[in-house]
């Protein structure tokens, strides 16, 4: 079974530029998550989708971050404009359902903002 796919794996941009990350979850997984992991810290949940609807985005900085999940499968996370403090690894995870199901994590996208 294929795992969670993410691209790109690495991205370097200058502050105030825009960037987008892509995630393809495990086939059949209804729930998709984006996490931000800053160096030396644990992952922090940014947004949770159930199919193509947002369940929770309370920790998403909505002035600069946006995310969508079209057709309930792939998802994109966008940052516009980026700040230095956005440098982090962005992890995508998916699960069969929101409750009582284990989350499977992708390899992550390492973003460096200079």
């Amino acid at each position: 079974e294929a795992g969670v796919a993410q691209s790109p794996r690495y991205k370097i941009i200058e502050k105030r530029q825009s960037v987008a990350f892509w995630c393809n979850p495990i086939s059949g997984h209804a729930t998709l998550y984006w996490y931000q992991q800053i160096l030396g810290q644990g992952p922090k949940l940014l947004i949770q989708f159930q199919n193509n609807g947002v369940v929770d985005d309370s920790q998403l900085p909505k002035d600069r971050f946006s995310a969508e999940r079209l057709k309930g499968v792939d998802s994109t996370l966008k940052i516009q404009p980026a700040k230095l403090e956005d440098s982090a690894v962005y992890l995508c995870a998916s699960s069969l359902g929101a409750r009582y199901y284990e989350q499977y994590f992708g390899p992550g996208t390492r973003l460096t903002v200079t």
């Binding site: 729930t31 030396g40 644990g42 992952p43 922090k44 929770d56 409750r99 284990e102 994590f105």
Partner: protein
């Protein structure tokens, strides 16, 4: 907001020794995960603990959960170099008795095992 505290944050231990990592959390939950992360890699699931008193073991690692104390432990027995990694606990947020599938992570314990 649910708070998750791990300690120690850094652990350096000799091969063959035993040690315990602690994970405390601030609100009610009966679903806790332990993950391993190698440098530059993603998270690998180690254990899922689903109820009070749950204990799971895999090789040299054993995890337990005490929901009344809001405490989980990850015990390392006779450590070997291959266990060197960062270990995270994560708690599934609960609302009115149901888990929400939203994980709150501790800061991680960076384990180094030396000969």
């Amino acid at each position: 907001e649910l708070k998750v505290e791990q300690n120690p944050l850094f652990l350096s231990m000799q091969e063959g020794k035993n040690y315990t990592i602690y994970c405390n959390y601030s609100t009610t939950s009966d679903r806790l995960y332990w993950y391993r992360q190698d440098p530059g890699k993603s998270l690998e699931s180690l254990f899922v603990l689903l109820s009070n008193g749950a204990v799971k073991q895999e090789g040299r690692l054993m995890a337990s959960l005490d929901t009344k104390a809001r405490l989980s432990t990850l015990h390392i027995t006779a450590a070997v170099h291959d266990l060197s990694a960062t270990y995270f606990c994560a708690v599934d947020m609960t609302d009115r008795g149901s888990t929400l599938g939203r994980l709150y992570f501790g800061r991680g314990t960076q384990l180094t095992v030396w000969p």
